[in-house]
Amino acid sequence: MDTLAPAPTPQPPAASVPAVSAPAILPAPAGEILIDIDQVDFFYGASQALHNISLQIQEKKVTAFIGPSGCGKSTLLRCLNRMNDLIDGTRVAKGSIKIRGIDIHRPDVDVIELRKRVGMVFQKSNPFPKSIYENITYGLKLQGVRNQARLDEVVESSLRGAALWDEVKDRLHTSGLGLSGGQQQRLCIARAIAVEPEVILMDEPCSALDPVATAKVEELIQTLRARYTIVIVTHNMQQAARCSDKTAFFYMGKLIEYADTRNIFMNPANPQTEAYVSGRFG
């Protein structure tokens, strides 16, 4: 199977230190287009959830998807790492989604490889019923990393990256389910960045958290943007305004407006957008 890697430099399969150490992220100036969504129609069985969506997501920026419930923003997000494949009867009927110019629905694209590159954090924190350490190393172990020193190193760097290290460093081998809600969510983020993805998809990551935990996660998003391209779905417009660079507003499965966050909130071009961001419906 072909991978998504655009470069013709396949890594030696015998390496005990795969993808993580190698620069999975090709040096590209911030702002370059990483994900190109082109005229996508998406169906759940017979009902159409997305109508002709076209949208370009820039590298190392935070892109927020906003819109009322059922507007298709989560659906689009889950299209980006093909998580919708897990739901029976779903299909992308038209259009293409390209990551670094490669259509992710091409038959020779390995979906497993895609998901390693496009990590995901879910609405409800979902650490595995394993220890914190095992939660972080899960993705690496799937890739065959067995080197203990390397695993230790990644656990520390991921937890530091998720601003969780100081809180859990003394109990790495206790269950991840024993953490508080906000800590669990940051553990899930640490788990996602442990496999060094290029893109992190966040599906309403703060909707189940209290304001303090939410603030911590938002702060974390600000630090992560230096290294990762982040796409975040949120119901909370202040959150979108605070932490995103670009914002896309969806309504009834259609992309209404996509622009710099500042413009969406201060100077929306579309009256529907204005109505939504000013709280008149939604």
Partner: protein
């Protein structure tokens, strides 16, 4: 407001609970109906337990008396000598086996004809014959003693019967008739005298016997091959051990005292650890549950070994991998198996499976499988295969439930980290539902251990501990089971007899086993719920 309230109130009261039955409103009736149903099931359970225990509890007293008679009538004394005779018979069998091996050696390795081979082992035959005949004096002694001891026991039984008869007459209010019943007390001291009197004769016979055996064995002919010579050496060793046991037998006989009481614990121990279940015998009845327990456990183990991979594997497939159409087909199919009456499965086992497995075992290419080929159609393997079929629906359904309870988010998280379906199942789904799966297996075990019809029809019903020295081949031997024996013998026993009570105690044991298994399963499930959170 306040002024209109009284009128409304009377209005309510007048119409509330129109319907009355024994002074109860409809609501109360419904409550009593449902509550009653719940209470009835508890009462029935309590009654079952009570009767099981009431009928079974008497066994231990009866068994103690049984063991006392065994001792007082001298049966125990005779059995010391009989054991010696039986051990000798075992050694004789070893020699016949050795003869078969020699003939095989001559015919197959040396390419001799059967007649020539027989001629070649003539010297051995003479040796084996001498070895076998040496026991004759002991044997005749045992047979005399057996008659005498049986006679004493018979007298004792007659006395007991008469006593019972008298007691019954007294209870029926016929003291005159009761007085006419003659109870001849058994004078054990006098009765046992002739038996104990044979001790000097035994001492001489035993010494002669030992000398004779030593003589015969020292003159054993040499074996034609090294392997066979090894076997002969092994025989010499066994024989030496056998002879070394003689003084102990003599000591047992000398110190034997029929007045020595039987401890109460022995009545219990001889049941729980007794290696023989022998009923309606002319000599002595034994109620040892071990052969039945071992039979039940072996059959259940074989069933589990087959049913766990099948049931759990099918559950994983249906729950995680199968398409909705496959799910709709597979689930009802597996669940339908549990709807087949077990007696029908038993038929199938006798008529088809037993036959087919035996035919399979006789295929040359499969002779490497332990226990193959075998000729006994009904055995542990046949019964185990069928019981597996009975356990699969239970294990499948419960394991599938357990898998279903794993939150979908675990699966999504795993996929999002780039796991394949197989990795997700093995590393996340199965560990997260492991306790549920274990309890499913335990409940399957409970189902299998209590199953009666299939084992009664297909396990072979030989009451003996299977020969574990055969290794894995043990599963091709017939056994009897606890459930099977109850079903088979309960219809024939005299109500209230020791045998009847023994069957109840077997039932109690089964009851406790099932209870323990179910309790363990529930405990595990409870822990699992907490772990998932």
């Amino acid at each position: 407001m306040a002024s209109s309230a009284p009128a409304d109130e009377t209005h309510f009261i007048a119409h509330k609970g129109h319907f009355r039955l024994f002074g109860l409103t409809l609501d109360d009736c419904i409550k009593v109906f449902f509550g009653g149903n719940a209470v009835i099931s508890i009462i029935v359970l309590a009654l079952i337990t009570y009767f099981l225990f009431r009928e079974g509890a008497g066994f231990f007293g009866d068994n103690r008396r049984n063991l006392e008679v065994y001792r007082q009538a001298g049966l125990e004394y005779v059995d010391f000598i009989r054991a010696q005779q039986d051990d000798h018979a075992a050694l004789t069998r070893y020699l016949s086996d050795l003869r078969v091996r020699q003939v095989k050696f001559y015919t197959q390795e040396k390419k001799l004809s059967l007649a020539e081979a027989n001629a070649a082992v003539a010297g051995f035959d003479e040796f084996a014959g001498q070895y076998g005949d040496a026991v004759d004096p002991i044997r005749s002694l045992v047979s005399d003693l057996t008659e005498q001891a049986t006679a004493i026991k018979e007298k004792f039984n007659v006395m007991e019967d008469k006593k019972t008869e008298r007691d019954q007459l007294v209870a029926a209010g016929q003291p005159a008739a009761a007085a006419k019943v003659v109870v001849v007390p058994v004078d054990f001291v006098a009765e046992l005298k002739p038996i104990l009197g044979t001790l000097p004769a035994y001492r001489d016979a035993s010494a002669d016997f030992a000398k004779r055996l030593a003589e015969v064995v020292s003159a054993a002919p040499a074996m034609p091959s090294l392997a066979l010579q090894d076997r002969l050496e092994r025989f010499r060793q066994l024989n030496a051990e056998y002879l070394a046991g003689f003084p102990a037998v003599l000591r047992n006989l000398e110190t034997w005292d029929f007045r020595k009481p039987v401890p109460a614990a022995q009545a219990f121990m001889s049941f729980l650890f007794g290696r023989e279940w022998l009923t309606a015998s002319f000599w002595q009845d034994w109620y040892g549950v071990v052969p039945l327990l071992v039979g039940s456990i072996m059959v259940s183990l074989v069933a589990l070994v087959l049913a766990v991979p099948l049931g759990v594997g099918a559950a994983i497939y249906v729950n995680q991998i199968a398409s909705p159409i496959e799910q709709k087909f597979i689930k009802p199919c597996i669940e339908f198996i549990s709807a087949i009456p077990s007696v029908v499965l038993g038929f199938f086992g006798i008529a088809v499976l037993g036959q087919a497995l035996r035919a399979l075992s006789q295929v040359k290419a499969l002779s490497w499988v332990p226990g193959f080929p075998y000729s006994e159609r009904l055995n542990i393997l046949t019964a185990g295969c069928l019981l597996a079929l009975i356990a699969v629906p239970t294990i499948f359904t419960l394991a599938e439930d357990a898998l279903n309870n794993v939150p979908r988010s675990f699966k999504e998280a795993s996929f999002a980290l780039g796991a394949t379906r197989l990795q997700t199942v093995i590393r996340i789904i199965v560990p997260a539902s492991l306790s549920g799966i274990i309890s499913a297996v335990l409940l399957g075990l409970g189902r299998v251990i209590g199953e009666t019809m299939v084992v009664l029809l297909c396990a072979g019903n030989r009451i003996a501990i299977p020969d574990f020295t055969a290794g894995l081949a043990v599963i091709t031997q017939p056994v009897h089971t606890m459930t099977g024996i109850i079903a088979q013998e309960m219809g024939e026993v005299v109500h209230g007899s020791i045998h009847y009570r023994a069957l109840f105690v077997v039932g109690m044991l089964l009851f406790f086993l099932s209870l323990a298994i179910n309790y363990a399963a529930q405990r595990i499930v409870r822990r699992y719920r907490i772990a998932i959170g």
